[in-house]
C-alpha cells in the first residue's frame, strides 16, 4: 500500500513550455466557467477592449480629417471630423468606466460562486489530514484558500495583454498608411515594452526577496495589536523592542524594494529614450512629407495622437503582463492542489459499509506510520486486538505515537505498512464517510470555530445543528451546563472575541469540544485524545464518569470501542485494556493489574511517579526515577534530528 501521495514541489515542477500549456488550459477552463456564469459580462470583456481600441484609432483618424479640412477651409469635413473626435473621446471615457465595472462583477462572481467554493471543498473534503499538517504544503494552502479572485483576474489580464498588443499593432499599421517607413516604429515600440518588462521583473523579484521581513513586520504588528500578545508584551516591557523590530523589518523590506523601483525606472527611461529617438526621426519624416506637399498636417496630428496613445498601450500591456506573472504565485499552488486532490481521490475510497455493530473488534496488524519529512517512524509494527465493547487506554510519554494511533483509527492517515481490520474488514476498504459518521472524537488540539457556542457544539451532528434540545443534552452530558448558564447569551453567545464574542478559557473550550463529541447518538467508536488536560478535578471526574457510562451503554448496544489517551492515571486505571507506547512501538499490553506486575515495566514506573505524588504523606513528593527521557517526534516538529 503506497504511503504518501505525490506532493511535488510546485515551484520547480513545470518546465516553462509545459507551464504555459498548463496556464492556457486553466484559462480555457476559467473562460468556460465565466461564460456559463455570466455570458453577457464575459462577452463584454472582449467587446469593450475592442471598442476602446477603435476609439483610439478612430479618434486619431477623425482628428486628421478635421485638421486637414480646417486648413483647406472645408467646413463640412472639419465639423464632421471634430465631432467624430469628440465622440471618440467621450466613448473612450465611458468604455473605460464600463470596463472596470463589468470586470469587477464578473471576476467577483466567478471567484465567489465557482472557484473559491471549489477550492474550499477540495481542501475540506480530502479524506486525509496530511495536506494540513505538513508546513510546506500548508503554506500553499494558505496562499490558495483566498486566491479565487486573483486566479480569475489572471485570465482577464492575459486577455488584456492580448488586446494591448493588438491595439499597438493596429496603431502602428495606421502610421504605416502615412509612410511605410513608419512601420519601423514597430521595432522601436518593442524596446520600451521589453525594457519595461525587465524593470517590472526586478520589482517582482524584490517583492519575493523581501517577503520574509515583510511577513515579520506583519507578525509583530499583529502581536502588538492583539490583546493576547499585548498582555505579555506589556508585562515584559517589550513594547519598544517589538516596535523597533517591526520598524526595522519594514525598512529592510522597503529599502530593497525601493532600489528595485529605481532599477526599473532606469530601464524604463532608457527604453523610452530609444523609442523617442526613433519616433522623433519618424516625425521628422512626416513633417518633411507634409512640408513638401506629399503629406498633410493631418498626418502629423495623426502620428502625434498615436504616439500619445502608444505610451498608454505599452503601460497597459506591461501592467497586465505583470498581473499574469504575479498570479503565478497563486496559480502554481492552485494547479498543485488540483493535481494533489485528483491523485488523492483516485486512490479509491473503500466501498464496504460501516458495520451496524461490532462483533469481533478492531485489530492492528503490524501497523506502521511515518510522517513525511520526519526522521523516524511515528508508529512501527503495532499489532494488537481491541475487543468489541472494550475501553482501551493509551499511555506513553510525549511523542510516543498515541495521537497518531488515534488518528489512524479516524482514517486521518493511511498506514504505511500493515493494516487495521474492523471485524476482519480492512479499514481501507470501509467507506470513509459512513465510518466517520459512527465516530465520536475529541482531539488534543480540537477545533475552535469562530461562531456561536450552540453552533460550536451542534457541529458535532450537522443534521441537528439547530436542535437546541439535543445541544442542551450534549452540554449536560459533559458537565458544561454551568458554563452555558454563565455565558451572557447562553447557547447564542458569540465565541469569536474579534467580533465582540466571549473569550473562553482553555478549560471552557475543552468542554465545548467535548459537548460537540457528545452530539452523535450512537457511535461505534469513541476517540478521546487528552480530553481533559485543562479541566479541574471535579469536571474531569464528572466527564470521565459520564463517558464511562456512555461507553458502557454503547458497548452493550453496539459493542462500541472506546480509545482514551491520557496522562492522568486516575482516568486510565479503569480501562479494560491498557496499551503502553514508547517511541512509536507498543511495549506493553494488559490490564492495570497485569501491567503493574511487570517488574521495571514502563507503565508501572510512570504510574508510580504519580501514585507517589498523591499517596505520600506530607507535601514533599517523589523525585524523578531514572529512565529514558521523553523525546518528541510529532507532526509539525521539523527540528532536524541528530
Amino acid at each position: 500500500m503506497s504511503g504518501h501521495p505525490p506532493a511535488g514541489d510546485a515551484r520547480t515542477a513545470a518546465h516553462p513550455t509545459h507551464r504555459y500549456r498548463r496556464y492556457l488550459l486553466l484559462w480555457v477552463d476559467l473562460l468556460v466557467l465565466s461564460w456559463r456564469r455570466a455570458p453577457v459580462l464575459t462577452a463584454m470583456q472582449f467587446v469593450i477592449p475592442a471598442g476602446m481600441a477603435a476609439t483610439v484609432v478612430g479618434g486619431a483618424l477623425a482628428l486628421r480629417v478635421a485638421v486637414d479640412a480646417m486648413i483647406r477651409g472645408d467646413v463640412g469635413s472639419a465639423v464632421a471630423g471634430a465631432a467624430g473626435a469628440g465622440v471618440a473621446g467621450a466613448a473612450g471615457i465611458v468604455l473605460g468606466a464600463l470596463d472596470s465595472h463589468t470586470a469587477g462583477i464578473l471576476i467577483g462572481k466567478v471567484a465567489v460562486l465557482d472557484l473559491n467554493p471549489r477550492i474550499h471543498r477540495d481542501i475540506t473534503t480530502l479524506d486525509g489530514l496530511e495536506h494540513l499538517e505538513r508546513t510546506d504544503v500548508a503554506d500553499r494552502l494558505t496562499l490558495v484558500r483566498n486566491a479565487g479572485w486573483e486566479i480569475v483576474l489572471s485570465l482577464w489580464s492575459a486577455n488584456g495583454v492580448l488586446f494591448a498588443v493588438l491595439e499597438l499593432t493596429v496603431m502602428l499599421l495606421l502610421l504605416g498608411t502615412v509612410n511605410p517607413w513608419l512601420l519601423w516604429l514597430l521595432a522601436f515600440a518593442a524596446v520600451p515594452l521589453w525594457f519595461d518588462q525587465r524593470g517590472n521583473n526586478a520589482i517582482i523579484r524584490a517583492d519575493l526577496a523581501t517577503a520574509e521581513p515583510f511577513r515579520r513586520q506583519r507578525h509583530l504588528f499583529d502581536l502588538a495589536t492583539d490583546p493576547a500578545g499585548g498582555k505579555e508584551i506589556r508585562v515584559a516591557g517589550a513594547g519598544a523592542a517589538v516596535a523597533r523590530r517591526q520598524a526595522a523589518a519594514w525598512d529592510e523590506a522597503m529599502r530593497v524594494r525601493f532600489r528595485a523601483h529605481l532599477v526599473a525606472a532606469g530601464w524604463r527611461t532608457a527604453g523610452w529614450l530609444l523609442f523617442t529617438a526613433g519616433f522623433g526621426a519618424a516625425l521628422a519624416l512626416v513633417v518633411y512629407q507634409a512640408a513638401r506637399g506629399t503629406g498633410s498636417a493631418g498626418d502629423l496630428v495623426l502620428a502625434v495622437t498615436v504616439a500619445a496613445a502608444l505610451r498608454q498601450s505599452v503601460h497597459t500591456g506591461v501592467r497586465y503582463t505583470t498581473n499574469v506573472a504575479a498570479a503565478g504565485r497563486v496559480i502554481e499552488p492552485y494547479l498543485w492542489l488540483r493535481d494533489y486532490v485528483r491523485a488523492e481521490r483516485e486512490r479509491a475510497d473503500g466501498s464496504a459499509p460501516a458495520p451496524q455493530r461490532l462483533r469481533h473488534g478492531i485489530t492492528f496488524e503490524g501497523v506502521g506510520y511515518h510522517y513525511p519529512g520526519a526522521t523516524g517512524p511515528a508508529l512501527a509494527e503495532v499489532s494488537v486486538h481491541l475487543p468489541a465493547g472494550a475501553v482501551v487506554a493509551l499511555v506513553g510519554e510525549y511523542g510516543s505515537g498515541k495521537t497518531t494511533l488515534v488518528k489512524l483509527l479516524g482514517k486521518m492517515y493511511r498506514p504505511d505498512s500493515g493494516r487495521i481490520l474492523v471485524d476482519g474488514v480492512p479499514l481501507d476498504e470501509v467507506a470513509t464517510r459512513p465510518w466517520r459518521a459512527r465516530i465520536s472524537a475529541t482531539f488534543q488540539d480540537f477545533g475552535r470555530f469562530p461562531t456561536r457556542f450552540g453552533e460550536n457544539v451542534g457541529l458535532g451532528d450537522l443534521p441537528r445543528i439547530e436542535d437546541r434540545g439535543r445541544i442542551t443534552a450534549a452540554v449536560r452530558e459533559v458537565d458544561a451546563t454551568g458554563l452555558v448558564d454563565r455565558l451572557p447569551d447562553g447557547l447564542d453567545t458569540e465565541l469569536d472575541a474579534a467580533f465582540g464574542g466571549v473569550d473562553l478559557s482553555e478549560g471552557q473550550w475543552q468542554k465545548t469540544a467535548l459537548a460537540r463529541a457528545a452530539m452523535r447518538p450512537a457511535p461505534l467508536l469513541f476517540l478521546l485524545d487528552e480530553p481533559t488536560a485543562s479541566l479541574d478535578a471535579p469536571s474531569e471526574q464528572e466527564i470521565f464518569d459520564r463517558q464511562m457510562e456512555r461507553s458502557r451503554r454503547a458497548a452493550a448496544r453496539t459493542h462500541a470501542v472506546t480509545v482514551i489517551v491520557s496522562h492522568r492515571f486516575s482516568t486510565v486505571t479503569g480501562a479494560d485494556l491498557i496499551l503502553t507506547l514508547h517511541r512509536g512501538r507498543l511495549v506493553e499490553v494488559g490490564t492495570h493489574q497485569e501491567l503493574l506486575a511487570v517488574p521495571g515495566g514502563r507503565y508501572a514506573t510512570l504510574y508510580r511517579i504519580q501514585a507517589e505524588a498523591y499517596a505520600r504523606e506530607g507535601r514533599r513528593a517523589a523525585a524523578l526515577p531514572d529512565g529514558p527521557g521523553p523525546d518528541g517526534a510529532e507532526p509539525g516538529s521539523h527540528v532536524p534530528g541528530d
Binding site: I71, P227, R234, S539, E549, A623
Partner: protein
Amino acid sequence: MALLTDVRLLAGALRAARTPLTAALALLLVLGALLPPASAVAMAHLVGRIQTAVPTDAPLSVMALPLLAFVLVLLLGHVVDTVAAPLAFLATARVDGAHRARVAGLAAAGTTIAPLEDPQVRALIRASRADPENWTEHTPGAGAVAGLRLAASLIGVAGACLVLARYAGWLVPALLLPALVNGVIRQREAATGIATWRAGTVDGARNQRWQHAATSPAEGKDIRVYDLGDWLTARIQRHALAMDAPVWASLTRAMPREAGQLLLVGVPLVAGYAVVAAGAAGAGADRVVAATAVLASSVAIFQALGWSEDLRVAVSAAGCLRATVDLADRLPAPAQHAPAPTADPDSTGTARHGTAPANGVDGTARAGQPVRRAGPALVRFEQVSFRYPGIGRPVLDRLDLEIRPGELLAVVGLNGAGKSTLIKLLAGLYEPDEGRITADGVDVATLGATAWRRRLAIVFQDFVRYHLPARDNVVLGRGDLPPDPAALAAAATDAGLAPVLERLPAGWDTPLARTATGGVDLSGGQWQQVVLARAHYAVRMGADLLVLDEPTAHLDVRTEFEVFHRLAANRGGASVVLISHRLSTVRQADRIVLLDGGRITESGDHDELIALGGRYADLFAIQARRFAADAQAAPPGEPPEGPPADPPAGSATRTAPGPAAAGVPTGGGHG
C-alpha cells in the same frame, strides 16, 4: 465637510514622507499633468508652420525648432513619468511605515489591556491597520500619493483651460462646467461604492476566519470526523456573498449612469469641437493652430475630472485614516504622567537600545540597569473586586490574598474561578474595580506600571511565539533592558533549554518559524521550554515574582516533574505563583490557596488543607482516589527517592477556614 476632512487627513499623512520627497514628487506630478496641454500646443505650432510652409515653400529649417521642441516635450513626459514612479513608491512606503508604527504604538500604549479587548476597538484596529486583505482596502500611503496625483491633475486641467482660452474665452466654461458636474457625480459614485464595501468588512473578516479554519489542522480533524466540508464551504461562501453581492448590485446599478456620461461628456465635447472646427476652417494660420490645440487637449479635462482609480484609492485610504482618528480617541494617550519622555515614539532602529522605557507603557521608571533590591516584596490583594464589562457577576469579589516574599504559592480553583484574571490584575493589565494591590505596603498603581512589571515574570497560557531568532524569544522576556548574554546563558541552563538549542541549526540565531530563512517550527513541548527560559531570563534580570499559569497542562508526567523541580531549584530568591490543576504538583508548594466564588476560601500547606477537610481536600481526593484505591493491590515497588525540591519553608497559616467538610470521599474505586 467630509471631502475636506479626507483631504486634510491625506495631506497630514503625507508629512511622514518628509518635505523634500513630497515636494519633488509634487513637482514631477504637476509637470507631468501640464505636459499634455503643452504638447498639444507644440503640435499645433508645428501644424501652423506646415500650413504656412507648404504654399510659401519655406525652407525646412523653420520646422526644425518646433519639431525639436515637440520631441523634447514628449521625451520630458516619458522621463517625468518614469522618475515619479520610484519616488511615489518611496513616499508610499514611508507613509505606510509611519502609519503602521503609529497604530501599533496606539495599541501598545496604555497600561491595561481592557481597551484592546473592546470589540469596537478591535474593529477600528482592523480598519486602520493598513494591511490590505482584499481589493477594497487601500493604505494611507497609496491614498496620499493618489491624492497628490489628483491635485496635480487639477493643475493640468487649469493648463488645458489656458489652451481653450487662447482660442476663445467662452470655451472654458462651456467645457469646464459639464466636466466639473461630471466630476462631482463620479466622486459621489466612488464614495457610495466604498461605503458599500465598507459595510461588508465584518463579513469579509469572518470569511477570512472561516477560511483559516478550513486550512487549520486543529479544525481539520473536526471537519473530517463530523463531515463538515460542504457545510463549511457554504458558510465561507455565505460571508463572501454578504460582502460582495451588494457591491455587484451597486456596480450593476452604476452602469447605466456610467453610460449616461456619454451625454454629459459627449454633448459638450462634440458641440464644442464642431463649433471650434467650423470657426477655424479656412480662417488663417493662428486660428487653425489654436483650434488644433483645443481639439488635441480638451478630452483630457474630462478625463482628469472624471472617474479614476486614484479617486477610489484616495477615498478608501481616507476611510482608513478616519478609523485611526477614532482609534486614537478611544485608546489612552501614551505616557500621560510620564516625566520627560525619553522614548522615541516612532523609533526606526535608531533608538538607544534598551535605555528607553517601554514605548507607550507608563514610563515612570528610570531606565537602565537591573534594579537590585533587598528581596521580593510582600504582595497583598486588599479587598479587590473585578468584573468584566457586560457580565453581571463579579469574577473577584472583595478578595484578600498575600504573596509572601520567597514563597512558592499555588493557586487552585475550578475552571472559570478567576485564576487567570487574578494574574492579570496582579500585573496591572486590568485595574481593580474596588480595593488595591500593594507591594510592601505601597499601592502598585502608584509605583508605575514599568517599575512594577520589572519585578514580574509571567508565563501566560497563551504565551507569545515570536517569529524571531531563539535569542530574541528569550531576551524579550525583559524587553526594556539591554540584552544580557550572561543572563541569557544562565536562563537557558535554568530552564534546561540545552537539548532544544542543540537541535537548532544556527543555535541562538535560528528563527523559530519555518517561514523564515533557516528557521524551524518547534513542537508544543519545545516551545514551552523556550518560554520557561524567557521567564527565567526575566528573573535573572531582576524580576522577583514569577507567575506560571498552567505551565504543564499538556506535558507528560515525567516532563512535568522535571519542569517543576527545575523551577523550584532555579528560581533564586524569587517568589513563585503557580496555577495548576495537577494537585500532585500543587501539593509541593509552600502554601496553597483555593479561589472559589471570587474569594480565597482556603489557605495553608497541603497537609493543613487536607486536615481542614475542605474543598481542596475534596479536589485532591478526587484525583488521588484511583491511586489510593489500588495502593494495596500494587506490588510493593521501591519508593523512588531523590533530592527533594527545596523551597524555603514558609510558616503557613490558615487565613480563611473553608466551608464545612462535606463528605470527603476516602478512596474506593467507582464505576
